[in-house]
């Protein structure tokens, strides 16, 4: 089932027309440049075919006649050629690069837009690394192959046609003799190209294993040391690098065979020209200049063939990239608003906020059953009624269904059957964005974006003023520590927010949630231990942001649970006990047991 996320699949190499059609459709806005690049590549081929003819003119006309008065004309042709080639080279590189960079941009843009629309479930089953690879290496590789492949194929094709046509015009017999080696040349090129590419792919695979081993050697250093596994690890590693070495040498042998074998075939063609062309010169059928042209042309023949073989092989290789990119861009949205809802409430890009009702905050689960796609049933006939402004603490072991309930409220997932009502109306009858606009979410491990603290708090509501941001920070008790930073609110949080402590990051994420002023708040509490002062601050901040909102907490903190209006004890997707803290402690049932087992450690920490 994870097969689709394998990077290197060795599927058969048959052409997937549908995929390529889709990829080509992305290129439509670049039509103008495509036509231009084909034009320039053709001109370049013309220039390449024409070059030996200029020298032939010099040999046959000027040297043979010994007429120096024609030399200025010859120089003039050369100078013209110089400008012509330089101009074309500039034009085709520029155009090809333009296609490449813009195509990569288009692919990324489409993929990113899709990523914003895709429901949360997609992220649950798709590794982040997979998505990243599509956005970076695949989009780059594809656009590279498509733009430069286009140049290579056009140039190579035109060059071959040009060479053959001109050769036939110059001398039919000699042309036929030289062309006898052509099929061998083509066969050899394709034969080797395919194998060399495959050999290099094997090397890359092996290489990524070595990278993995390094990663493990570094990440697992402590364990390795304590178990004294250095030697046996080294032996494993040696096996990997040894295999890598053998693979690489094998590939090098293959690659080293390719060029000489082409060279060999070419030398036969050249020898044929030497002999038959020489005889023709002897018999004065052709001139010395023409012999030179044929020898040059034989030399010029390999380049386009090798290029064409190379492009072909790369196209085949790129198909896997293309398929993966298309699979992302065309992924199904399994959660989406119906057309009627879109009509009334608008879309992400064009929301019709004027039609949005105010949200009060009543949340009702009406016989909700939920099953993940993989099959396991998480909730069955779940019922819950929460009034606006109430707080609900969800407790239970991992896998009891806490996260699922929260995901359903957020409409990251939708019920398999049953309904979820917000203010008495099935939430599917309103838009996802209407719901999210009224929803706040505070994560277990707070996710901050790179940028400064101010920007991160503003993320909760993009039009918040600086004063509102400071106000929010004050309310959650973040203002004081922010002020101690040299740069205050302009302090960069750096990637992943590593410069701030976990507790500080949490407070910032609270401020972010507060500024959004949501009607419904989801709180996924952290289990990580923070120092006592921070712990107290966090508790206070939680109380502040919960005030007056409907709140669902996946709770780990004693204080949060104790203060909740309602506690739900979950097991296997069912509520096995519910009530207030005091009631349930008195009952000495599930909650009591869970409580005494699980929460006493936090008591120790906060002591």
């Amino acid at each position: 089932m994870m097969q689709q996320f394998e990077e290197e699949t060795y599927q058969d190499m048959s052409l997937n027309t549908a995929t390529w059609k889709r990829i080509f459709s992305f290129m439509r806005p670049l039509r103008k440049y495509i036509i231009l690049v084909i034009f320039f590549a053709t001109l370049l081929a013309v220039a390449d075919v024409g070059y030996p003819l200029i020298n032939r003119y010099g040999i046959d006309i000027i040297i043979e006649e010994g007429d120096l008065s024609l030399l200025p004309l010859f120089i003039g042709i050369y100078v013209f050629y110089m400008f012509f080639v330089a101009g074309i080279v500039f034009a085709f590189i520029y155009t090809a690069e333009k296609i490449q960079n813009h195509l990569a941009y288009i692919i990324r843009e489409k993929a990113f837009k899709k990523l914003q629309e895709l429901p949360f479930s997609y992220y649950d089953r798709t590794p982040a690394g997979w998505i990243m690879a599509r956005m970076t290496s695949d989009s780059r590789q594809l656009s590279d192959i498509l733009s430069w492949g286009l140049v290579d194929v056009t140039w190579g094709g035109m060059m071959m046609i040009g060479l053959i046509v001109v050769m036939f015009i110059l001398n039919v017999q000699l042309t036929l003799i030289t062309l006898t080696v052509l099929p061998v040349l083509i066969y050899l090129s394709i034969f080797f190209r395919k194998r060399i590419l495959k050999a290099y792919r094997d090397i890359r695979k092996q290489n990524s294993k070595i990278t993995g081993a390094f990663n493990e050697g570094i990440g697992g250093a402590k364990t390795t040391k304590t178990l004294v596994l250095e030697d046996s690890n080294y032996q494993d590693f040696d096996q990997l690098t040894d295999r890598m070495r053998r693979h690489s040498i094998r590939a090098a042998v293959f690659a080293s065979l390719y060029f000489p074998s082409i060279l060999f075939v070419a030398s036969i063609a050249t020898a044929l020209v030497f002999y038959y062309g020489g005889l023709d010169v002897r018999d004065e059928v052709i001139t010395v200049g023409l012999l030179y042209v044929f020898v040059s042309y034989v030399g010029q023949f390999f380049d386009p063939i090798m290029q064409l073989a190379n492009s072909l092989a790369r196209f085949q290789q790129a198909q896997a990239s293309a398929e993966r990119v298309v699979s992302l861009i065309d992924a199904d949205l399994d959660i989406d608003d119906t057309d009627q809802v879109k009509e009334k409430y608008g879309t992400i890009e064009a929301p019709k906020t004027e039609n949005w009702e105010a949200l009060k905050g009543d949340v009702t689960f009406d016989n909700v059953t939920f099953k993940y796609k993989k099959g396991e049933q998480v909730l069955s006939d779940f019922n819950l009624d929460v009034k606006a402004g109430e707080s609900v603490a969800l407790v239970g072991h991992t896998g009891a269904g806490k996260s699922t309930i929260v995901n359903l409220i957020c409409r990251f997932y939708e019920p398999t059957s049953g309904r979820i009502l917000i203010d008495g109306t099935d939430y599917k009858k309103r838009s996802i964005h209407w719901l999210h606009a009224n929803l706040g979410y505070v994560l277990q491990s707070p996710h901050l974006f790179s940028g400064n603290i101010r920007e991160n708090i503003r993320y909760g509501r993009l039009d918040a003023t600086d004063e509102e941001i400071i106000e929010a920070a004050k309310l959650v008790g973040a203002h004081d520590f922010i002020e101690t930073f040299e740069m205050g609110y302009d302090t960069e949080v750096t990637e992943g927010g590593s410069r701030l402590s976990v507790g500080e990051k949490q407070l910032i994420s609270f401020a972010r949630a507060l500024i959004a002023n949501p009607r419904i708040l989801i709180l996924d509490e952290a289990t990580s231990s923070v120092d006592t002062t921070t712990e107290k601050k966090i508790q206070k901040a939680i109380e502040t942001i919960m005030e007056g909102r409907t709140t669902f907490v996946i709770a780990h903190r004693l204080s949060t649970i104790v203060n909740a209006h309602k506690i739900l004890v979950l097991e296997h997707g069912r509520i096995i006990e519910s009530g207030t803290h005091e009631e349930m402690i008195k009952n000495r049932s599930h909650y009591y047991k869970l409580y005494t087992n699980q929460f006493k450690e936090s008591l120790f920490e906060s002591n």
């Binding site: 080279v89 520029y94 941009y105 080293s256 060279l263 030497f274 959004a516 104790v562 000495r588 006493k600």
Partner: protein
């Protein structure tokens, strides 16, 4: 000189491969400059009366009475000559690749071995990403350099030298004329490739920014969606993506300028050579065949010049890569100068006034720690996060070295005992154990390769993880980390315990190693283990007072100092922190009621 040694020290032992390959490739370059001489021979010697530029031994091979015979011989000799040349090409390339791959192989192995031997302190400070970068990308940069660029420099050098030689043998004046533009092209190429590096850096930076934007968006999907900021994210991404595109286009423009500009200069050179060539040919100073040979030899010199400019630029890059690798190699191995003393360890451990502080820290992590544990006894250490519990354990296996007081194992100072020997005798089960990307079966048997299935299953059963493993789709053959297979924290901890059960160690340390397992299972496992390890000295680091209370001796640690030391009963009697914790953890209900009110 230092630079020179920096490059050659990795090549030791394989350099002979390179030297042989090098001479072969040099010969190849000579042969290559002969190819244009065949056509010269045909035109000037066979059809004219001029001297042939082919070397004498070849001229002798192509003698015949008739023109047809001569042409046939030239054709045959040119094929034979190509066969010799391509055998040389093949052998030379294979030798060079044998050399590079062996150098890279040894380099990676050395790095890996060295990294494993670097101190725990080094590893806890090092950034994994950066180390990986050095061990992979930097090694690859070096490999490419010696295999491709370094060889190319010499290849191009000899090709140029031989081509100039062949030209000079035909006509010295024409040779000078044909070389006029070469310094210009070479200089421009070198400058260009040096300058373009900066632009490259900018492109890479822009790409990095864009990648970060995607990464943050993907990992923060919940936040993005919950705050409904999809549109904002799209705009933010579009800006970075556009920036990347535009920086790339900037690079493209430079590229287009460079390649077309140098093409212009190269064709300018052709114009000069061809014009003068024709002039001299008509004057009689040059033969028509020589003129053609000149054009071909010129091509061999002038086109590769641009590559040379790139290689000069790459030289600096390789040097930086090697510096980064050398930095790792310069770190001392923790086993360097370690003693060979390997006494039998029975498990009598004494701490005398032990203290520890990092060199760059202002506050000691441990101070004045003293206790004594007899073989077979159990000592529990209880304390808050940051109280120094883990540091204490790290000292006992010399992952860190105490800088105050002494630690004695059966009367021997720990610093006199061989590190590996010590670690083989002291089993430590970490709170966050690392599982290798092997099968679960192999992970359990990792210290005892070839262990029987029975003993593995038995160990897993005692550690209460057997049932869990059987529940996996592929059971014991499940590969950890592959295809997203992840074990929960508790499962990992139990696998780590099972792993330890296969060996008998006189000393065992549980570093909070059942923290992710629920209390009931914790108790079950501990009971089973106590039974299994009756004669073992056991250290338990824990949060749970219920776990600690069963130990023979208990240490309460706070801020790196021993706050209380004794057994459960004496500590209770003493009152203080331990007693109040015990009170709270065992009489929760009452406390809670108080709190709730």
């Amino acid at each position: 000189m230092k630079r020179y040694r920096q490059f050659t020290k990795w090549m030791k032992g394989y350099i002979y491969l390179y030297v042989i390959g090098f001479f072969i490739l040099m010969a190849v370059q000579y042969l290559r400059t002969l190819t244009p001489l065949f056509i010269q021979h045909i035109i000037d010697n066979i059809f004219g009366d001029e001297p042939s530029a082919l070397p004498m031994f070849m001229q002798r091979m192509v003698q015949h009475d008739t023109i047809q015979g001569m042409l046939l011989l030239v054709a045959i000799v040119s094929i034979l000559f190509t066969i010799v040349r391509l055998v040389f090409v093949f052998v030379g390339r294979v030798l060079v690749s044998l050399f590079t791959e062996n150098v890279a192989y040894r380099m990676k192995n050395k790095l890996y071995r060295h990294l494993q031997n670097l101190s725990f302190n080094y590893h806890s400070k090092a950034e994994t990403g950066d180390l990986i970068q050095r061990t992979t990308t930097d090694v690859e940069t070096f490999r490419k350099f010696i295999g491709e660029q370094f060889t190319d420099v010499f290849r191009l050098f000899f090709l140029t030298a031989f081509a100039i030689m062949q030209m000079a043998l035909m006509n010295v004046r024409m040779t000078f004329i044909s070389l006029i533009m070469t310094p210009v092209v070479l200089t421009i190429a070198t400058i260009y490739f040096n300058r373009v590096k900066k632009v490259f850096d900018r492109v890479e930076k822009a790409e990095g920014k864009m990648t970060t934007a995607v990464q943050e968006n993907v990992t923060g999907t919940r936040v993005v969606k919950a705050f409904q900021n999809e549109k904002f994210e799209m705009d933010k991404f579009a800006a970075t993506s556009e920036r990347f595109r535009d920086e790339s286009m900037h690079l493209s423009r430079l590229m287009a300028f460079f390649w077309s500009g140098t093409d212009f200069l190269i064709f300018f050179q052709y114009t000069l050579t061809a014009s003068f060539g024709i002039y001299y040919t008509i004057q009689g100073a040059l033969d028509p065949g020589q003129f053609i040979a000149f054009l071909a030899l010129l091509g061999m010199i002038v086109w590769p010049l641009r590559q040379l400019g790139r290689i000069v630029g790459d030289f600096g890059k390789t040097s930086v890569a090697l510096d980064r690798i050398d930095e790792i190699m310069a770190e001392p191995s923790e086993h360097e100068g370690d003693s060979d003393f390997k006494p039998q360890i029975d498990g009598h451990i004494t701490f005398r006034n032990v203290g520890f502080q990092f060199d760059d820290d202002t506050k000691p992590l441990l101070k004045g720690i003293s206790f004594d544990v007899e073989p077979g006894e159990t000592l529990a250490v209880i304390g808050k996060t940051g109280s120094g519990k883990s540091t204490l354990m790290n000292l006992m296996v010399r992952l860190l070295e105490n800088n105050e007081g002494e630690i004695l194992f059966d009367g021997n100072d720990i610093k006199t005992i061989n590190k590996r020997h010590l670690r083989k005798n002291v089993g430590i089960i970490l709170q966050e154990p690392f599982l290798y990307s092997k099968t679960v079966f192999e992970n359990i048997g990792i210290m005892k390769r070839g262990a029987k299935e029975e003993s593995i299953f038995n160990a897993a059963t005692i550690a209460r993880v057997h049932e869990d493993i059987l529940g996996f789709e592929r059971g014991y053959e499940t590969v950890v980390g592959e295809r997203g297979v992840t074990l929960s924290g508790g499962q990992k901890q139990r696998v780590a315990i099972a792993r330890m059960l296969l060996e008998n160690k006189p000393v065992l340390i549980f570093d909070d190693s059942l923290s992710a397992v629920d209390t009931e299972t914790d108790i079950q496992i501990r009971r089973a283990l106590m039974h299994h390890w009756q004669n073992t000295t056991v250290f338990i680091i824990t949060h749970r007072i219920t776990t600690a209370m069963e130990a023979d001796k208990i240490i309460v640690l706070e801020d790196g100092k021993i706050k209380a030391y004794g057994d459960h009963a004496s500590l209770l009697k003493e009152g203080g922190l331990y007693a109040s914790l015990y009170e709270q953890q065992t009489n929760l209900a009452e406390n809670i009621r108080k709190e709730a009110v």
